[in-house]
Symmetry: C2
Subunit: 326 residues, 2 copies
């Protein structure tokens, strides 16, 4: 950190307290327990060339997680879809991350009881970004398997409920940087690989694709990679994955909404196989991006707005007001 630097606020549009505003002006109350207790769940869907990718899968997960955390939202899927589409439209972005957040909020009276809280919804669209930069995607990432820290156990915090508890991942990143690696993956206490900051991991071992079964977020891009493996008739094992098996894999890649399917070619200073980006990884990556204009997996931003508008007209839903022009 340097005293002379100013934070960079990316362009984009946020939805806060029923209003749309520039992302740079989007704030949450410091007292929101979503901040003070990390008591929130969220999801991030991406828009590519004006189309949401697998929004239904993200919604399935997000609404399930809101329920699991005993949170309540007044918005249904149509209402939330309208807000997300409106954030994207106002941002003018063709390629975007779109984040939806439900926080515990604040109580209606002095209280420490989460049941007294008025839950809050935030959303924003910002420019699409990548876990791996262009050079890393071309030559493959250098990944560290962390030694100094383990992933938060699913007995403590359910990783399938997407959450902001990233301190283990952040401390793992610092370990990786110390070792000249570019990113990190954490193991569980038994030494099985789990996940990294914002991504799942896959390893091609003995001709079968393997990815950790537990202790991880069930990523939508992870799900997509599994679907694509099945499409090309490559067997997939969702299983336990000891760190040493990953080190000895034929190919390794990571998956994230922030970039899709991205190759890993160095682990802990040692090349993965011959150290080149694997053929299967490249093939899956190509298929992944090909799927982005398939109507079965994607929905146009304008189409989503129009669909909701007519739905809103018919039913007179209150979320109509959210669609007023700026």
């Amino acid at each position: 950190m340097s005293t002379s630097k100013q934070p960079y606020f990316p362009p984009g549009t946020a939805y806060v307290d029923g209003d749309y505003l520039p992302l740079s002006e989007a704030r949450l109350p410091i007292l929101d327990w979503g901040f003070l207790h990390g008591d929130a769940t969220y999801d991030v869907v991406h828009v590519w060339k004006g189309r949401f990718f697998r929004l239904d899968a993200h919604f399935d997960r997000f609404f399930r997680n809101v329920d699991r955390m005993h949170l309540e939202m007044e918005l249904d899927r149509d209402g939330l879809a309208a807000i997300l589409a409106e954030c994207v439209r106002r941002s003018g972005l063709e390629d975007a991350f779109v984040e939806m957040i439900c926080t515990r909020g604040m109580p209606a009276m002095p209280s420490r009881d989460p049941r007294d809280a008025i839950n809050r919804v935030y959303a924003f669209a910002m420019p699409f970004g990548w876990v791996a930069d262009e050079k890393q995607r071309e030559k493959g990432l250098h990944l560290r398997i962390a030694r100094s820290v383990t992933r938060i156990s699913p007995h403590a915090v359910d990783p399938t409920v997407k959450n902001y508890h990233w301190l283990d991942l952040i401390m793992g990143l610092y370990e990786a940087y110390d070792q000249e690696a570019e990113n990190v993956v954490l193991c569980d206490e038994a030494g099985n690989v789990t996940e990294g900051p914002g991504f799942n991991l896959f390893a091609l071992i003995d001709g079968r694709m393997k990815t950790p079964a537990s202790g991880v977020l069930e990523g939508i891009t992870r799900k997509t990679a599994i679907d694509l493996c099945e499409m090309i008739q490559l067997p997939v094992d969702v299983t336990t994955l000891p760190a040493d098996r990953v080190r000895g894999a034929q190919e390794v890649f990571i998956t994230s909404t922030a970039g899709g399917i991205m190759p890993v070619t160095v682990i802990d200073d040692q090349p993965v196989a011959d150290g080149e980006v694997g053929e299967t990884t490249r093939r899956l990556d190509g298929l992944y991006w090909d799927k982005h204009d398939d109507p079965a997996w994607s929905t146009g931003v304008d189409e989503l707005r129009r669909r909701h508008l007519s739905h809103a007209d018919f039913r007179g839903r209150p979320s109509m007001s959210a669609l007023r022009t700026p």
Copy 2:
């Protein structure tokens, strides 16, 4: 949650981006990684009858934790003390919580690398609050020892670095409420008691006071309770504490900046000993509050401001501007 309810904003004063403002107006950018990644450390000191209690101990911990998290603050102890004292002064509160927060902040350019972040400091003073309400302090708390969730392991997130990763504690609270208990304490994966939401736990067993050694925040009130036990020549073991030993204890209490030393008289629907608040607990609680005007352990809010002002005059420190009158 109810649609008609409005959040309650307690009175108080916050410090954000170099300005003092009413706590109800204090916001942080939605993009602050302190929120989006829970990437922050904090501390809470209390003011009682116009005096900070053990501020030095809180500062020792907070500044150490800022370092451990690879965070940087431009403020030193004097500068931060001045800000906290000013928050209290402006709030007009005689009894207050005073929270200091250092977040990762936001990067100076598009980046996912925490090393690129410009770290941020927030602080606020709000009315003093209690983990246990008046009735619970009088008759003793009904505590649940959680079964459905374990505390985040110290191998994943160091609990001595005070942090906002509370989802395990929150889910534990919901389990407690389901069982008609009022609060919860979590165990580690081996079944040893750790801590609850914002408090440490003590149990008097075979005439010795015991409190968990690891997997817990090293609370300042915990430290104070240990000091007070030593003052009254009661032996203290900082040790592992199996849940069953706690259930069979003579006395149990919890400690927190939010209320001091508070009795537990029911655990998992069973009374602790005879179910009455224990004599040792009452004695320690009395001693705890007696210590609040001892100059060795407390500092007047005005004294702290004056001390810093003269220090600032002498050295011409930039934090002078923070002390301008409203």
